[in-house]
């Protein structure tokens, strides 16, 4: 048993350790140490909670057992999950945080004495507001993350699902939640509490279904942020500093990531959230016109020849590389090129892939040193001085239309200037447009050679031809 003042200090310590955990991520060198800080903070928080409650009866054994059970499941997943599945794993984990927040809020509502919040039927007003907000945000996080998970996993089509009046429905439900919370505070009715949670689950689903596959980086970051706010809401209810600090950290972290992702697509946060992007066919006229243009296509031999005679090559990976699991083959190709004294670097667009930093993790998995991998603004000027750009699985992020055609839906989006390279090798399965539903002008340029194939297969073939 320790006093509540002492435990509050320990909670503060664990909050600070969490800050240091995020701080460590400012560089790969310090990041591992940062992760240990995070683990230490978590252990402190859990131990202090045990000690401050001081209940080591039979239920303590159940808690240890469940901790062990959940921990083994988590550890198993963590070791088994392939790196390409990271986006859906993160979405899945967010859903768990959301649901845990809902459960804690329910427990607090059903038995407020335990948390010093008053008694059933007469819970303190502030606590009631805090716990219902925590529960509502938690429920939205849960169901929204489940939908995101299903979309990322391919169990549900990544295409946006829209229907008439969708936004009005969301708006009405959102207002409804506030009205219900107001009445909940007046009546303390259990039924209203359950209704708030149910509607929030519904909002989570409705919020995410209209958002298409390639907007997932924003969605995941947003849900990350929500899970933080839910934790903070519960933290206020429990008057727990560690939870409040963590919730605020995670909340702002997710919000910043969403902002970065939106900016990288030159779209407002609201346009992403309202969804339906890439679903309309207003671009089809332009598309059919362009179909007439000639396209140069080649095979692995041509590609190998071009690269062998280059002095510098920039690789531009995208979601297609993740789908085809081509990162290891790619690394092999790069090794061969380097043996021939060719300078190879990687250029990563912020929204390449399905979550922030997705490509970086895959390249790291394939043992690509991180100091060969560059962000858009650091490498964009190098394209003009390079011989070959090897675009593998990326599309919209290389489309020069974003710079030239104000009518294009992606106009203004920062893109990689691959067309400035002497030649561009574009690995793609077909000429089909990318996520934005628009044709890539790059396909028809004179210096572009299309390599129609699966990304992995093509890369492997090029490797063979490099010998």
């Amino acid at each position: 048993m320790i006093s509540s003042n002492l435990s509050a200090i320990f909670y503060l310590v664990s909050g600070i350790l969490f800050i240091l955990a995020l701080r460590g991520l400012s560089s790969p060198d310090t990041s591992r140490q940062g992760n240990y800080f995070g683990i230490a903070g978590m252990i402190i928080a859990i131990l202090v909670t045990f000690l401050s409650i001081g209940n080591f009866s039979s239920s303590f054994l159940y808690v240890l057992l469940l901790l062990f059970l959940g921990g083994s499941i988590g550890a198993f997943i963590a070791f088994k999950i392939p790196m390409t599945a990271m986006p859906e794993l993160v979405a899945g984990f967010h859903s768990l945080v959301g649901l845990a927040a809902v459960f804690v809020a329910i427990a607090a509502f059903l038995n407020p004495e335990v948390f010093n919040l008053g008694i059933v039927g007469n819970i303190k007003l502030a606590s009631l507001i805090e716990m219902s907000i925590g529960a509502a945000v938690g429920a939205i996080t849960f169901s929204g993350s489940i939908i995101a998970f299903l979309k990322l996993r391919g169990l549900m089509s990544g295409a946006p699902i829209t229907f008439l009046g969708q936004h009005y429905l969301n708006l009405i439900l959102g207002i409804g939640i506030f009205v219900l919370i107001f009445y909940l505070c007046k009546t303390q009715s259990e039924n209203i509490f359950w209704t708030v949670i149910t509607i929030s689950f519904l909002i989570g689903v409705l919020l995410i279904i209209p958002i298409g596959g390639a907007d997932m980086p924003v969605v995941i970051s947003m849900l990350n942020s929500y899970s933080g706010w839910a934790a903070a809401g519960i933290g206020f209810t429990l008057e727990n500093t560690a939870l409040i600090i963590t919730g605020a950290l995670v909340g702002s972290s997710g919000a910043i990531l969403s902002y970065i992702m939106c900016k990288a697509m030159n779209r407002s946060f609201f346009s992403v959230i309202l969804g339906g992007f890439g679903a309309d066919n207003s671009q089809s006229d332009i598309k059919s016109k362009k179909d007439q243009k000639p396209v140069k296509s080649g095979n692995a031999e041509d590609a190998a020849f071009l690269m062998k005679n280059a002095s510098s090559v920039i690789i531009v990976p995208g979601y297609g590389m993740a789908v085809a699991q081509a990162q290891h083959a790619l690394r092999e190709m790069v090794d061969k090129l380097k043996k021939n004294d060719i300078k190879v670097t990687y250029a990563i667009h912020p929204v390449a892939g399905r979550m922030p930093g997705h490509m970086n993790v895959l390249l790291a998995e394939a043992n690509v040193p991180y100091d060969e991998v560059f962000e858009l603004e650091d490498i964009n000027n190098d394209f003009a001085n390079s011989d070959v750009a090897f675009v593998i699985g990326a599309n919209d992020v290389t489309n020069p239309v974003a710079k030239t055609d104000p009518k294009s839906p992606i106009f203004g989006m920062p893109v990689l200037d691959v067309e400035k390279c002497k030649s561009v090798l574009f690995v793609k399965r077909s000429l089909s447009p990318g996520y934005a539903g628009i044709d890539n002008e790059l396909f028809y340029r004179d210096n572009t050679l299309m390599l129609f194939a699966d990304a992995k297969k093509m890369t492997e073939d090029i490797v063979k031809n490099l010998d």
Binding site: L22, M42, I53, L69, F115, Y370
Partner: protein, 102 residues
């Protein structure tokens, strides 16, 4: 007049948002995926609420309705804590510099 303790907690909250803002902007973009998995892991500190719900009940019954929700939340949060930190660790191990590889 005495200040409501809520105001202190609210101050901590707002200050932490600012700390989070500056700390997260300094995270290198190549580590954004580990950032998400580690924030996910630390937000599972919500487990303290679950533990209180499960253990602090004064009733003799180990399985009151509120403690059951506590137990359930403990499992969920535990999956997240272990899964989140371990998968972050696994990812971070992969980030190597050029000189390390030989």
């Amino acid at each position: 007049m005495e200040i409501d303790p809520f105001i202190f907690r609210f101050s901590i909250f707002i200050l932490s948002i600012f700390v989070g803002y500056y700390v997260v902007w300094s995270v290198t973009p190549s580590l954004h995926t580990p950032l998400m998995s580690v924030t996910n892991a630390i937000s599972s500190v919500i487990i303290v609420g679950a533990i209180i719900a499960a253990l602090a009940s004064t009733s003799e019954n180990d399985f009151s309705s509120s403690s059951i929700f506590g137990y359930l939340a403990i499992i969920l949060a535990a999956v997240n804590i272990f899964g989140g930190f371990l998968v972050t660790q696994r990812m971070l191990q992969m980030y190597k510099k050029k000189k390390d590889k030989k």
